[in-house]
């Protein structure tokens, strides 16, 4: 059975059991097995079902005795759970980043629209412009124009008067010169519009990742804790 004791030694060394304690346990085990062998008692009578798995036996003994040093991280979470934690963190970062992209593109439209409202500079002749937002500012030559969506089109309302398009009543809209000093930079409509779908996709992916991680977390923890042990 010296091979069994050697296997145990290797496992204790791998687990970081101090040499003095490992030597003591190995010596006791070897002496007990030698006694049993001398009396014709099978090793299974001494080791129980641990005789078939020396590594698990050694780990169980050292663990129960409390002589396995806790490495940084090992006592915090099992390996699988640590991996899952990284996935959760990445999913959270993706979700937060995507949310910021979506909100920022909307905020840019709205902040410019507020400036446009304050200026009250009326626009020259304008045309119908399609767009996804209820309130947005677009460039028309030397002017920025606030437009209001009603029905299927975004309709700029020139000269601050109510304007009727295709039978729908629209609110007044205003335009102002593009070079006013207090006017913040106008975001590139095409760029921000193209980023928004990507932002929404990333937001859905991030939230989906978070939900999946939360759903998997308890099962992973249970699986980690259910490692078989040959000892009582």
């Amino acid at each position: 059975m010296s091979q069994f004791v050697d296997e145990c030694r290797r496992e204790w060394k791998r687990l970081g059991v101090p040499d003095a304690i490992a030597n003591e346990m190995a010596a006791d085990l070897a002496a007990d097995l030698a006694d049993a062998d001398a009396e014709g008692v099978p090793a299974e009578d001494v080791l129980g079902n641990g005789v078939f798995d020396p590594r698990a036996f050694a780990a169980s003994w050292a663990g129960e005795r409390g002589v396995i040093p806790s490495a940084p991280g090992r006592e915090r979470l099992p390996r699988r759970s640590r991996r899952l934690s990284v996935i959760v963190a990445l999913a959270a970062i993706v979700a937060i980043g995507a949310g910021l992209v979506v909100l920022r593109s909307a905020d840019q439209h709205q902040s410019v629209a507020v400036v446009a409202l304050r200026a009250y500079v009326r626009a020259p002749n304008l045309t119908v412009v399609p767009g996804p937002l209820e309130v947005r500012v677009v460039r028309r030559g030397s002017h920025f124009v606030r437009v209001v969506r009603r029905g299927p089109f975004i309709v700029p309302a020139p000269y601050g008067r109510p304007f009727t398009a295709r039978g729908s009543e629209v609110a007044p809209a205003y335009a102002l010169p593009a070079k006013l000093p207090f006017l913040p930079p106008i975001p590139d409509q095409n760029t921000s519009d193209s980023l928004r779908p990507l932002g929404w996709i990333l937001l859905v992916v991030g939230i989906g990742g978070l939900i999946l991680s939360v759903a998997l977390w308890p099962r992973r923890r249970r699986a980690d804790q259910a490692s078989p042990s040959p000892g009582y």
Partner: protein, 117 residues
């Protein structure tokens, strides 16, 4: 329905620590000696878990004390004996065992069963 082996294993699992405490409370013993004493009283651990992890737990919990002493003609061995905390734990555990055993006997006592030879 659990198999006989499985049930025996489960029953033993719940009281083997008490059995070991009882053995070393009677007289200090080293690992293999405990196994022999248990076997001499009809309690074999064949097919069950080893006593060593359990001894490690009892030691960690301060329920047993250890010392090294020469054995009969062999190398020095690690002897275990019940500490005062172990003695108290043994008394409480035996009381719990007897209470559970009596209650189970009341329930199962009405059943006439043939013991397989």
């Amino acid at each position: 329905m659990a198999s006989a082996d499985h049930r025996r294993s489960q029953l033993l699992r719940g009281v083997l620590d008490l059995c070991l405490l009882a053995v070393v409370a009677e007289e200090p013993a080293y690992g293999y000696e405990m196994t022999k004493r248990l076997r001499s009283r009809g309690l074999s651990i064949v097919g069950e878990g080893s006593i060593y992890p359990l001894l490690g737990r009892l030691e960690r919990e301060g329920l047993v004390e250890t010392h090294r002493a020469a054995s009969n003609g062999g190398p020095p061995r690690k002897y275990y004996r019940a500490s005062s905390a172990g003695q108290r734990a043994l008394e409480i555990g035996v009381s719990e065992w007897r209470g559970a055993r009596d209650a189970i006997d009341v329930v199962l006592g009405v059943v006439e069963a043939e013991v397989p030879q």
